[in-house]
């Protein structure tokens, strides 16, 4: 039940709910502090700035089953410019909730009694960790100061007009959010999480989210037309006509300074409307930023996009590569130490790519912070193509600082072209840090083929191993001296002349003739019943630093078709310079294509150098249905060659990507948060 009182300034009726410390008179803007008897006038507030908030006093909703009313609002000024709204929810159980609003995001917190000792403000650093003991380990998103600007309705804390409040915003996982308020001797602890307005079920006083409106103004320096599309949130404007940097605070443009702007490469004009990932967006600003690594300047363009919910996203263009970036709560990303090569966040493992100092070179259009030419942030990029996770650390003037994480997703130029209905965009050059590897998808699509082909190969090999029984059709040890009886005569003649001969087994034979006959062997008829299996002829001979060959023919007795083949057993060895060597083989096999079933004769004509054969006996074997591993091997090679090419190309692409990295395989152990030149 609200207590009614009168405004100490104008006498208008004021309402004080339980817990209300200060009420703002809606008529005279007096700040009336609750006292035992009558409210005390503690000052007056300035007019509220129109922040474009979709909320309004009196709106009702529910939170965890408890009804609430938006009872009050305070506007606080940030040291980097601009104000943000802090709404106060009066719940029907008497509790109060703090609903902070910034860049279209909402954070609902409740005051909590800390379970441990809260850290001092001076011990916290943006991007670092805040150990709250039993209350958890938090990522410090920002350490800064807020200055009271204005208020309306009922405020559940003792507002001090013009006072400055030191605070630290903490971010945890899954949208958890906390604030440490150092405005009192004992820091206050506010705990909650990021919420959407839909979750709060707001009704009544809530305004519809504003459509992107256009406020047409003129540049106070050159008079050129300026169309502000987010006038409620814009703090700085870079005039595209004269290059002046303008202040847009309070809804009025004021000249700040002339900028020496670089040439503006416009791909997406200011005011261009499009639809990115299904979200309608308007381009309201363009930044040109650069970093310098090893003396080389790498510039890129960033287009600031405003969506219909007054949220912002960035479209980044670098050497023809495009990406869209959205903010990520610092608490959703674990602490990244200096030099840490990888981290696990947002369900993925990210590899550190580079640390650079990014500098603002050109400013065109409108921006929601007090952007300055030369403004520098320390950027650390982790990549998991097609996404990258980027940390930007920025120090505030006069102390404090903030860390912002953003998640970028790679876009093909055609996607940007279609989103904004642009002319065809130039092809990207080089490999971007988080460009998806085009060969990965091709390789992935070939996996099914690869597995299927390997399976088929296995089945074929198993079938062959069953059907190929290695049937012996002919096997004979041929005594060359028996084949050519006059060889003994030749041998005796050679001995008589004192010519040393090499004979494997000096068996006495018939009288030698003057010239050696050519030995030829014809087999008995061989019955071949299987007409679809290959044949193999094998020659084995115990040659030693010599060779013996066979000129063979498998002749069909029916058709006269002959399979002609040559075989050779050749083995040489020796010692050369203390190193022993050998070449050749005692055994050789030649494979013949299948022949029609029928009767065949095998003709074998042994050959050698010199008058006498180097061996007495040679072994010849004819088999059918011999498993040939050469052909499964060739099929396996055919199966693997394209995936191997793809793997090679994939690796080459990755190599090109990581050549640009400070943390690539070829990079040293260097690289850290101060790794980039500036």
């Amino acid at each position: 039940m609200s207590a009614l009182a009168s405004c100490p300034s104008c006498g208008a009726a004021l309402s004080f709910r339980p817990g209300t410390m200060v009420a703002v008179c809606p008529y005279c803007h007096a700040l009336a502090a609750r006292r035992d008897r009558d409210p005390e006038l503690i000052g007056k507030v300035a007019a509220l700035m129109d922040t474009g908030s979709p909320l309004a006093l009196g709106a009702t909703g529910t939170y965890t089953g408890r009804a609430f009313t938006l009872a009050g609002r305070v506007q606080l000024r940030h040291p980097l410019g601009g104000v943000w709204d802090e709404w106060y929810l009066a719940l029907d159980d008497g509790r109060w909730g703090w609903l902070a609003e910034a860049q279209g995001r909402f954070y609902l917190t409740f005051t909590q009694a800390p379970h441990g000792t809260l850290p001092a403000a001076g011990s916290l650093e943006a991007g670092g960790l805040a150990d709250l003991g039993p209350d958890g380990l938090w990522t410090v998103g920002e350490v800064s100061e807020a200055t009271f600007h204005s208020a309306e309705g009922e405020i559940p804390w003792a507002v001090d007009p013009g006072a400055t409040y030191r605070f630290a915003d903490l971010s945890g996982q899954h949208g958890a959010f906390a604030t440490l308020d150092y405005s009192e001797d004992q820091p206050l602890f506010f705990l909650g999480r990021e919420m959407s307005l839909a979750e709060l079920g707001l009704r009544g006083g809530a305004k519809k989210p504003g459509k992107v409106g256009v406020q047409n103004l003129n540049c106070p320096k050159c008079g050129g037309p300026l169309a502000l599309r987010a006038p409620d949130e814009t703090l700085r404007v870079g005039c595209p006509s004269c290059g002046s940097l303008l202040s847009a605070e309070g809804g009025k443009l004021a000249f700040l300074k002339s900028l020496k702007q670089p040439r503006q490469d416009v791909v997406i004009p200011l005011g261009a409307e499009g639809s990115l990932e299904g979200v309608p967006v308007t381009c309201i600003g363009q930044l040109r930023r650069s970093c310098t690594v090893d003396g080389t300047v790498y510039p890129w363009n960033e287009y600031l996009l405003l969506d219909g919910q007054h949220g912002f996203r960035w479209l980044v263009q670098s050497e023809g590569h495009w990406s869209v970036a959205v903010a990520v709560a610092p608490g959703d990303v674990p602490q990244a130490r200096d030099g840490q090569r990888s981290l696990f966040a947002l369900g993925a493992t990210w590899r550190r790519f580079q640390d650079v100092a990014a500098t603002v070179e050109g400013v065109w259009g409108e921006f929601y912070w007090q952007v300055e030419q030369g403004e520098q942030v320390q950027v650390t990029e982790f990549v998991a193509p097609p996404r990258s996770l980027t940390r930007e650390r920025q120090a505030h003037k006069g102390g404090g600082g903030e860390v912002n994480w953003s998640l970028s997703t790679y876009l093909r130029p055609e996607q940007v072209q279609a989103a904004f209905k642009l002319q065809p965009l130039p092809e990207p050059t080089g490999v971007a840090s988080f460009q998806p590897n085009p060969h990965k998808a091709t390789l992935a699509s070939s996996w099914l083929w690869l597995v299927g082909a390997l399976g088929l190969l296995l089945i074929l090999v198993m079938a062959e191993s069953v059907t190929h029984r290695n049937v012996e059709l002919f096997h004979r040890k041929l005594d060359l001296y028996e084949l050519a009886p006059n060889l003994r005569q030749v041998e005796a003649e050679a001995i008589r002349r004192g010519i040393p001969v090499r004979r494997p087994s000096p068996t006495p034979g018939p009288a030698p003739a003057a010239e050696a006959q050519e030995p030829v062997f014809f087999s008995d008829p061989i019955e071949i019943r299987e007409g679809r299996q290959n044949l193999a002829v094998t020659l084995s001979a115990p040659v030693n630093n010599s060779w013996v060959g066979v000129e063979g023919a498998l002749v069909s007795e029916t058709t006269g078709v002959a399979e002609l083949f040559l075989l050779e057993s050749s083995f040489y060895h020796g010692v050369d310079g203390g190193e022993s060597w050998s070449e050749g083989d005692h055994t050789q096999t030649v494979f013949l294509s299948a022949v029609p079933a029928g009767t065949y004769v095998l003709r074998l004509a042994p050959q050698w150098d010199g008058p006498l054969p180097p061996v007495r006996v040679i072994d010849v074997q004819l088999r059918q249905g011999v498993m040939r591993w050469l052909y499964p091997g060739l099929a396996l090679l055919a199966i693997l060659v394209v995936p191997l090419i793809l793997v090679f190309r994939l690796a080459a692409f990755e190599s090109r990507r990581w050549q640009e990295s400070m943390y690539g395989p070829s990079a040293g152990t260097g690289g850290g948060d101060s790794g980039g030149d500036d």
Binding site: S446, W449, A553, A562, L592, Y631, A638
Partner: protein, 59 residues
């Protein structure tokens, strides 16, 4: 790349099936020839015939 892969797969499996299930051989020192009856009926004529057809071994 997919067409190239299919060509490779088709080639590899064709070779394997042709060898494994039809007994075709594609490599090695061999040749097929039609021997006239006059050659077949005269064993000594083989060598002359083969030599004249460019088929002879030796180092």
């Amino acid at each position: 790349m997919r067409i190239l892969y299919m060509i490779f797969l088709g080639g590899g499996f064709s070779l394997m099936v042709a060898n494994g299930f039809f007994g075709r051989e594609f490599f090695g020192q061999r040749r097929r020839a039609d021997l006239p009856p006059s050659v077949r009926q005269t064993p000594g004529a083989y060598r002359t015939f083969l030599h004249n057809n460019g088929f002879h071994g030796g180092k």
